[in-house]
């Protein structure tokens, strides 16, 4: 190392460092003026790193339409429940029963369409109303059982950890009272569409229409928020940020639709479809774009509705207030017990939705249905920035958390990492993510 080159190299390094500092300052200013959630941005960054990393490691097998489409379907059921778990954890509670409740509700819905409606009521299989009747019963029962756990927690004063631990054992045990642990199959053919699969997807044009509706909704909501701010004379985002945000969000939506449409039906299925509809397949087979899977569409709708409930409804505001300071919420005149009961009822309802998706996707109810789902759901919520101290959490964050977890699992599967090692990695990521989050939060003050 020569005496001359050292200062020169140092100054280059310094200049580089200063440049980086300026760049990050500028980026920070952009994020601040554009009023964007930094935590969500961090999660997106982590997801991008995971995706690109797996894509490189797998030699380009990860970022394919097929893999991404599968990833979206696999994430849906956990993501849906995670949106509810956010509110449960925000209210300083926990729900350990979601996996077992999902199993029980899945079995109930299977019994309904396989035994009770066709045989007990004598109405026969494959009725046009079967799917919706089954689904409604599942959702209502889920909300009632969840609400019951909430009632015991809120009015009975039993900690939710205990109530839902009991619930876990009870719901799991009740499955056996239905079918002695036997698998129930097959499900109603319309009901099965809820599980996704090529037929349980929207197809090309409906997917584009959904994408365009989403874009219109994004632009409208940005416009409405801007108009509201102008009405009260609040500082608005600069126009460039508004437009950039709209372009970015709509671009992401349309890119997502494009990816799902780039995944064609499997050849055999396409050939059968062609034969059934009397179409002569062109050379190379019929190319039927799959489009957005129905469970993914459900997940998107649930995310939007739950975000609205959490951030723009009195109920959601009360849940966050209670999580931040239960005594203040009570003194503020909030009916805290009723609010808590509703939180658990909502969680149960979401378990019903996920139960329908999982049984439809499996085309069966099996005793292992939902086993350990509670851990995935809680992890998704926590990776998404929900704090166990209460009062802090985000619904889109939890959905992203579910996608991050599923990406890790599916990426490792592609790399032929065995399942125990997958668990170890997911465990480490979970603890690291929460550790990093609390470190950043402390530093920000």
């Amino acid at each position: 190392m020569s005496e001359v080159s050292t200062p020169a190299r140092l100054s280059t390094l310094d200049r580089l460092r200063a440049g980086l500092g300026r760049a990050s300052e500028a980026a920070g200013a952009v994020i601040r003026t554009a009023d964007i959630d930094t935590r969500l941005l961090g999660l997106l960054g982590a997801l991008a790193i995971i995706w690109v990393g797996f894509n490189i490691a797998s030699g380009g097998d990860f970022l394919t339409p097929r893999n991404l489409w599968n990833l979206s379907v696999q994430s849906a059921s956990i993501a849906i429940m995670a949106t509810g778990m956010v509110l449960v954890i925000v209210s300083r509670n926990i729900d350990l029963s979601v996996g077992a409740l999902l199993g029980f509700l899945g079995y109930t819905m299977a019994m309904l369409q396989i035994t009770w409606i066709p045989e007990t009521l004598g109405l026969g299989l494959e009725q046009p109303f079967t799917w919706i009747a089954t689904l409604l019963v599942g959702l209502i029962l889920g909300a009632l059982l969840g609400g019951l756990q909430g009632f015991v927690t809120a009015y009975g004063g039993v900690p939710s950890f205990i109530v839902t631990l009991g619930g876990l054992l009870i719901w799991r045990g009740l499955i056996f009272s239905y079918a002695d642990g036997q698998t129930l199959a097959p499900m109603d053919s319309t009901f099965r569409l809820l599980g996704g699969g090529p037929q349980g997807s929207l197809g090309e044009w409906p997917s584009w229409i959904v994408g365009i509706i989403a874009c219109v909704a994004i632009v409208l909501s940005l416009y409405m928020s801007r108009r509201r701010k102008r009405k009260y004379g609040f500082t608005q985002r600069p126009m460039w940020a508004e437009i950039a945000l709209a372009v970015l969000l709509c671009g992401a939506v349309l890119a997502g639709v494009w990816v799902t449409n780039s995944y064609p039906w499997p050849e055999a299925l396409a050939a059968r479809y062609a034969a059934e509809h009397g179409i002569t397949p062109p050379p190379g087979g019929l190319n039927i774009p799959t489009g957005i899977a129905i469970p993914v569409l459900i997940m998107i709708v649930v995310t939007v509705v739950m975000t609205y409930i959490a951030t723009r409804r009195r109920f959601g505001r009360n849940v966050f207030a209670f999580g931040g300071n239960p005594e203040a919420a009570r003194l503020g005149g909030i009916n805290t017990r009723r609010t808590l009961m509703w939180v658990f009822g909502l969680m149960g309802l979401l378990c019903g939705i996920s139960a329908a998706i999982q049984t439809a996707r499996l085309n069966a109810a099996v005793t292992g249905l939902g086993v350990q789902n509670e851990l995935d759901v809680i992890s998704a919520a926590v990776i998404g920035g929900t704090s166990f101290a209460g009062g802090i959490g985000s619904i889109p964050g939890a959905v992203l958390g579910a996608v991050v977890m599923q990406s890790l699992r599916s990426g490792m599967l592609l790399l032929r990492v065995d399942s125990p090692t997958q668990d170890i990695v997911v465990g480490i990521v979970l603890v690291t993510a929460v550790g990093l989050d609390s470190l950043l939060r402390r530093r920000r003050g």
Binding site: Y232, R314, R317, F320, G323, G324, A328, L331, G333
Partner: protein
């Protein structure tokens, strides 16, 4: 004066107390925290409530604010019997309480805290955050014009700013009765002066204010009447003009009216008071 008030209400409406609490009792597990208390408050009046720790001041005020149900007793607002079983009941009667802990949801911003439990919604029940922020800006303009932090969680605000948010809640909803539990305990000198000015201003606007304070100077400075509590009972309610701070201190410590106390007790107290004066920051 006091005897007159306990007679049947006179025809003039301004003689009817804004708040009258009669024979209020609260006990926790055999301890009488509040034991048969009578207290009243008129519009445009500040009543200082003083007493040692555990004398029952805060519990009595929690009864009025609906945070602590009374075991027995009667509350009359404008001479009419009122039932206050929850904070919501109290708020419906325009009774607002600023708790010593401030009762803020730390994770929410100032507008969400001002409207905690009484959020503004539009026609379809969606929270109207812009309207809440706008109203909060207006009330803060009046209370603390330097307050600019309407988007941050209140946990990141200073003690004085947090106090402003808690007071803003009471002021925005046009309280007629305001309960302030140690409003200046956590504040610096400038902020304390600000709160004192505000109390005078609200009193001039015709609010009735119960002021709980350990600071005898605050109480003498701001109150019209002073009620002294001792072991759950009211020792006496006195006009500020008719007593000295030493008389009030004697009642706080001995739990007796000065004329009832023995000369030995008063002498002992004199020594304690001297010692306290040396300790107290000026």
């Amino acid at each position: 004066m006091i005897a007159e008030r306990q007679e049947a209400p006179t025809p003039e409406s301004d003689q009817t107390p804004l708040v009258a609490m009669d024979n209020i009792r609260v006990s926790y597990g055999g301890v009488h925290a509040v034991d048969g208390v009578h207290i009243d408050l008129h519009a445009g009046e500040v009543v200082g409530l003083v007493g040692g720790n555990g004398a029952g001041k805060s519990t009595l005020m929690k009864v009025l604010a609906g945070a602590q149900p009374a075991d027995s007793g009667e509350i009359r607002i404008d001479g009419k019997a009122a039932t206050i079983n929850s904070p919501r009941d109290a708020k419906a009667l325009d009774i607002e309480c600023i708790y010593q802990t401030l009762a803020l949801a730390d994770n929410l911003d100032a507008p969400a805290n001002v409207f905690l439990g009484r959020e503004l919604v539009n026609g379809i029940g969606t929270l109207d955050d812009s309207a809440m922020e706008s109203a909060t800006r207006q009330v803060m303009q009046r209370l603390n014009p330097r307050f600019k932090n309407f988007k941050s969680a209140v946990v990141s605000l200073s003690g004085g700013q947090r106090q402003s948010v808690a007071i803003g809640r009471a002021v925005h909803f046009n309280a007629r009765v305001l309960i302030m539990d140690e409003p200046t305990a956590a504040l610096g000198p400038a902020e304390t002066a600000q709160v004192r000015d505000l109390i005078r201003q609200l009193k001039a606007e015709g609010l009735g204010i119960f002021l709980i304070s350990h600071d005898i100077h605050d109480v003498f400075d701001l109150s019209d009447r002073i009620s002294v509590m001792y072991h759950g009972k009211i020792v006496d309610t006195v006009d500020k003009a008719s007593v000295t701070p030493d008389d009030v201190l004697a009642m706080i410590i001995l739990g007796k009216k000065p004329e009832e106390a023995s000369s030995e007790e008063l002498a002992e107290l004199q020594i304690q008071a001297e010692a306290a004066k040396h300790d107290a920051p000026s």
